[in-house]
Symmetry: C2
Subunit: 369 residues, 2 copies
């Protein structure tokens, strides 16, 4: 299911991308720069990636005929979001290479499967419990010391489908708030900061990681990522080593984002993995020769991974909703690379773009306290 292609893609081959959002758009541009053609599979006709891809298959994820046409048009298929239906990925995998393999989707789509996968690898996470009823939620909450976050097992992102609880009395309301769907209760982590590692693995097993980023979230969404992260070299190396273990265990091919909590005692807990290019890696397009997007294309095309060296310190900040009105001002600032996703409609909570501000290597000196 996850076998390497017989040989690396040739220039002019077609890379298929499931999903046509901004990540698909940025992947399509990186693929084009390496001489590949691209095909997007995305139900929405007017999606960010459509104008930048060679072809657009606008069909539903359960349209078997369209999935087949798409698969036959592509030399390799990847995805830009982890909620691609596994059945769609597997239908395509029967006809052409899918990278990363559908197994990575299956693990990351279900918070319980993901946490269990990590635990089985001996990787630390927050305490977690499967929850299938209000009563089970109440019981799990007690085991977490009365506090925690209940999250639906599936289809949560950017803070949606989750409720924080501070006492057992809130279990009933929280269970209803998340729609009484199969869920997981996660204990609160007493962490100092969040960091992420964006790393790549080649089908031949080679591995390369960008420097960890220090991430700040607001309202459940990534607000900004700073590089270098204010962690010791030991923590940085350990986070990278954990990312590598995850990739090896998945026999992964492509770029992944691994989010960590760093406790006050410098313990690392994995919070979440995203089997795709990652928002916290957008800074690489400004501060590295090879961006995470090109890195992903290289990996799935069977080409050598690029250097993950960094020529600058930097901070990447998302433009969410009306933040996009800052773009003209930011474009006028000499040290910023502004990236807009071409979305026609601005809505609250919608990621409209991002920018990366560069500073000379070694000068950022971020502190988190």
């Amino acid at each position: 299911m996850n076998a390497p292609p017989a040989r690396p893609l040739a220039a002019g081959a077609t890379l298929g991308i499931l999903g046509g959002g901004q990540l698909g758009r940025m992947l399509a541009m990186a693929a084009a720069r390496l001489g590949l053609r691209t095909a997007i599979y995305e139900p929405a006709a007017d999606c960010p990636a459509a104008g930048l891809a060679s072809r657009h298959f606008a069909a539903a994820y359960d349209d078997a005929a369209a999935l087949g046409d798409f698969a036959r048009a592509c030399d390799v298929v990847t995805y830009e979001f982890e909620n691609v239906p596994v059945a769609a990925a597997e239908a395509i995998a029967a006809l052409t290479s899918v990278r990363p393999g559908p197994n990575a989707l299956a693990v990351s789509q279900d918070r319980l499967a993901e946490k269990t996968f990590l635990r089985d690898l001996g990787i630390a996470t927050v305490p977690f419990f499967a929850v299938d009823s209000a009563a089970a939620l109440g019981a799990a909450l007690e085991r977490c010391g009365g506090r925690g976050i209940v999250k639906t097992r599936r289809l949560g992102y950017d803070g949606k489908g989750q409720v924080a609880l501070a006492s057992a009395g809130e279990a009933d309301a929280a269970w209803h708030a998340i729609g009484r769907a199969p869920a997981i209760l996660e204990g609160f982590a007493d962490f100092a900061i969040e960091v992420s590692v964006v790393a790549a693995r080649h089908a031949a097993g080679r591995f390369a990681a960008f420097d960890p980023a220090w991430n700040e979230h607001e309202g459940g969404m990534l607000r900004r990522s700073r590089v270098p992260a204010p962690v010791s070299e030991r923590v940085s190396e350990e986070a990278t080593a954990i990312a590598r273990r995850i990739l090896d265990a998945l026999d992964y091919c492509g770029v992944i984002g691994v989010e960590f909590f760093v406790t006050g005692e410098d313990r690392l807990l994995v919070n979440e993995i995203a089997p795709r290019v990652h928002n916290s890696g957008h800074w690489t397009e400004a501060a590295c020769l090879i961006s995470q997007f090109e890195q992903h294309v290289r990996a799935v095309a069977g080409w050598p991974l690029g250097s993950t060296g960094r020529h600058s310190d930097c901070v990447m900040e998302n433009l969410i909703g009306a933040d996009v009105d800052r773009a003209p001002d930011l474009i006028g600032q000499g040290d910023c690379l502004v990236h807009l996703y071409g979305k026609a409609q601005t809505r609250p909570g919608r990621k409209m773009g991002h920018f990366t501000r560069l500073m000379a290597l070694g000068t950022a000196g971020w502190r988190h306290r």
Copy 2:
């Protein structure tokens, strides 16, 4: 004709690009990253830019109806090559802004007009003479000391439409070889190296130049550009100042490429101007935060010019014809950014891509002797 637009383009506006080659392709990607939509006007259906643009008008440059449709679909129109028929640019300029103005096309399309324009500005060039017959060519050759290059006034590029002469006896054959078209004889320049300045001017008169590049040509085509150029600070500043005078004289809006000969005595002679993004500026995508492509988009959109700072030394090399077979090897080299144009057919002399190799700032230490 060349008036600034009433106000800067808004995100989501449409940038039109005349020409769908690799320069149009790279402009389209830069425009997309800034949230613009793009429309390409290019007769060839399968051109490098087509897959990266929001729309493609595949029509001839004398198709008045198509030009009108294109102009009405675009908030501002620019061009990626200097041989766009001036009549087409003017027809569009009657309906929407064209930047740079068609006047820059008129000057650069005719080698005699270009050299005369430079002479009128007091800018040094090689000696040149208008040539309209074999006899005139012979006479001009005598005035150049018996040696020179005869070039058609129009439609020459990459070494095509020109013949080098080493004696008056070759005048007749050369005149026939260039098709007996109106021509210009240029005296040989006794130069040490060639450099170019890629610079931008905003409609409001602001100016920004990237560092001069040292260019090496082979067979009339650019082979490689190295930055920084091995010239003194005085020569670098003088070249930049000359570029600025040219842009001001044209009331220019956008990026221009100005090619110079540098003599052994450090005199600068302008060889050629190209009113567009320039092959010798491709290195900016790897060694600068803002590439020449984004800079051009910023200028024509009425947005502030970006920083032209450079974080690395570098060498950019073209992949011409079968050179493209080197791409897999280059992709495997950690310090190279490889850029392929997606051209399906490899032909001798065809620019298929380029790559830029980075090195730490201040370490290149190029010498030209």
